[in-house]
């Protein structure tokens, strides 16, 4: 049966997989939905398609709905993240000249130690480091600012972070317009394949559990279409669970490779899904566990504290009041809608809606429906943590 058709926008990236799989493997049909997947040319266009109602839902960079809530950037229409779509999935890469200087200085490209790689990168840079990211409001930009400023490079002044569309990233690297990049797969691997770049780190080496993409809808749509949004959350949750099964990997890469989705060879797409990367044109390989997560450890649960971490970072670098920003971001991620949609279906929903980001150092059991939920480590490379309540609470005391 074909139920109501929902149009859902996506950007051709590996982490669009839950939406592609929800439609192609029948998880949407199981919920009585037909997803009309619309490939968008850029993040700003996709955001506008969503804001103006040309699509009902969208694959979206997690900071975009937060930026809207803070009133920064080109859009102020309220957006809600009704589910996280993926955790992690980015790579940091450098051009070949910089890669050579790093090697000459003794860096081994272990693809693991963010502190060592960051110090080596800062030392090897000549002038302000120019780094390409896909969008000004992206986890890519937030990870870079967090990483480099923690290592002593003043951000945003000490680093020149530029917007480069992912398909043009390899070209910009080759043309010498940027020294480095942080981009979602498969675009980092494509720079390696084209012989213009080397991969320095997976994003997960900077923050081991970073909410990367969310399923975004307009806040008013979420309010007026609770039934459709619940079905969509469920379809995407089933797709994520299917993707987490290692047996699904080959088929998932084949699906994503199709002309209407990524239109790229499945072999390149498989690198992100398997975590086996070729990090340099010389063919060296590195393995990353949990390179991109679609399900494990409640990966798609939209923690309020994740949105608040993003708000705190955005406020810090844009000169906004941090307490106000953290408060404004509170309602952007919607654990309430996620939980209501999956109650009785997902066996392990967290009991809490907020956590101290960066505090889980080893896989830890937490309170959940079945009592069997384990949260994987969510640490930052520098072992700092972020407690949104510690930022909001003191101010509330003064107010009352």
């Amino acid at each position: 049966m074909r139920g109501p058709a929902l149009s859902v926008g996506f950007i051709p990236l590996v982490d669009a997989a839950p939406l592609v799989v929800a439609q192609e493997m029948g998880f949407a049909a199981q919920e009585g939905l037909a997803l009309d997947l619309v490939r968008a040319p850029s993040w700003s266009s996709l955001r506008d398609l969503l804001v103006f109602g040309r699509v009902d839902a969208a694959h979206m960079l997690s900071p975009v709905p937060v930026a809207a809530a803070l009133g920064v950037g080109g859009n102020t229409t309220a957006l809600s993240a009704i589910s996280v779509l993926s955790v992690n999935g980015n790579v940091v890469g450098v051009n070949l000249a910089l890669a050579q200087r790093l090697r000459d200085a003794g860096h081994g490209f272990d693809f693991r130690d963010a502190a060592a790689a960051g110090r080596a990168l800062i030392a090897a840079a000549r002038g302000p480091l120019r780094v390409g990211v896909p969008f000004p409001f992206s986890m890519h930009a937030e990870l870079l600012y967090y990483w480099l400023s923690a290592l002593g490079l003043p951000a945003p002044q000490g680093v020149d972070i530029r917007t480069v569309p992912p398909p043009l990233m390899a070209e910009a690297l080759k043309a010498g317009e940027i020294d480095a990049f942080c981009v979602g797969e498969p675009w980092g691997s494509i720079a390696v394949e084209q012989g213009v770049g080397a991969l320095l780190l997976p994003g997960s080496a900077i923050w081991s559990f970073a909410p990367e993409k969310v399923l975004a809808v307009r806040e008013d749509w979420a309010a007026s279409e609770p039934e459709l949004s619940a079905r969509l959350i469920r379809a995407v949750w089933h797709a994520g669970r299917w993707l987490a099964n290692p047996d699904s990997r080959v088929l998932a890469a084949e699906l994503l490779a199709r002309p209407e989705f990524l239109d790229l060879p499945p072999e390149i797409i498989d690198r992100a899904l398997s975590g086996t990367f070729t990090v340099a044109p010389t063919g060296e390989q590195r393995q990353v566990d949990g390179f991109v997560e679609f399900h494990r450890g409640a990966a798609t649960f939209p923690w309020r504290s994740q949105a608040q971490w993003i708000a705190h970072q955005l406020a810090a670098r844009m000169g906004l009041d941090r307490t106000v920003a953290v408060e404004k971001a509170k309602g952007v991620f919607r654990p309430d809608l996620y939980r209501a949609a999956l109650e009785g279906i997902a066996p392990d929903l967290p009991g809490a809606s907020s956590k101290i980001e960066g505090a889980v150092e080893v896989e830890t059991p937490v309170a959940s429906g079945s009592g069997r939920l384990f949260l994987p480590p969510d640490t930052f490379f520098d072992r700092r943590s972020f407690d949104p309540d510690a930022i909001i609470a003191p101010k509330n005391l003064h107010r009352n």
Partner: protein
């Protein structure tokens, strides 16, 4: 305000196709006192735009370089001109029309809508024309391809069954009608089958 109140309005058009760029320029010039600069969507686009300091930037929605302009919409330094995005503006019907037509506009903050509207109207109608042209082109191309396949199918039938062209065509048409299919699809099936058998 730093921008010129009464001088020519400076418009940057980001377009890789020179023919399209010329048509857009022409229609913008027709709206009056404007200065049009055509840029291509290269990676250093943001620098070019900063150097040009235009009042309005027009870009095809399908151009991935559009994301580069988003960073400029946040420039708030004391010497930089704030570039607000058009979709935030009060005239929602015009914004919708622009999005439907496939053009997006970035506009310097404070630019009066009286000056902006004719520019956007011109851009919208030009982009609508492009999308019509594209549809027509695709239709023509498809018709031509179908015509070729039908001709090949006729040729195969004439040879295989020793009939003339009119009879071959009548046979194809009858088969299509009997099967409730398009003539071109029947012809394609025949050509494919012949290719497999020969």
């Amino acid at each position: 305000m730093l921008w010129r109140m009464n001088g020519p309005l400076s418009i940057a058009v980001i377009e890789n196709d020179p023919d399209r760029a010329a048509l857009i320029s022409e229609s913008l010039h027709a709206t009056g006192n404007v200065e049009v600069h055509v840029l291509t969507g290269a990676a250093d686009l943001a620098e070019h735009i900063t150097g040009l300091n235009p009042d309005v930037v027009l870009i095809d929605i399908a151009n991935p370089s559009r994301d580069m302009l988003e960073a400029m919409a946040m420039a708030t330094g004391p010497l930089e001109r704030p570039v607000a995005m058009f979709v935030d503006r009060s005239d929602e019907s015009l914004t919708r029309a622009a999005i439907e037509a496939g053009v997006s506009a970035y506009v310097v903050d404070g630019l009066h809508s009286d000056r902006l509207k004719p520019i956007l109207d011109a851009a919208v109608s030009r982009f609508n024309m492009f999308s019509r042209m594209r549809t027509e082109l695709e239709t023509t191309k498809r018709a031509l391809e179908e015509r070729k396949v039908i001709d090949r199918a006729k040729g195969l039938l004439m040879k295989a069954r020793g009939i003339d062209e009119d009879e071959a065509y009548a046979l194809l048409r009858k088969t299509a009608m009997d099967q409730g299919k398009r003539l071109a699809d029947v012809a394609q099936a025949l050509v494919t089958t012949f290719g497999l058998l020969s």
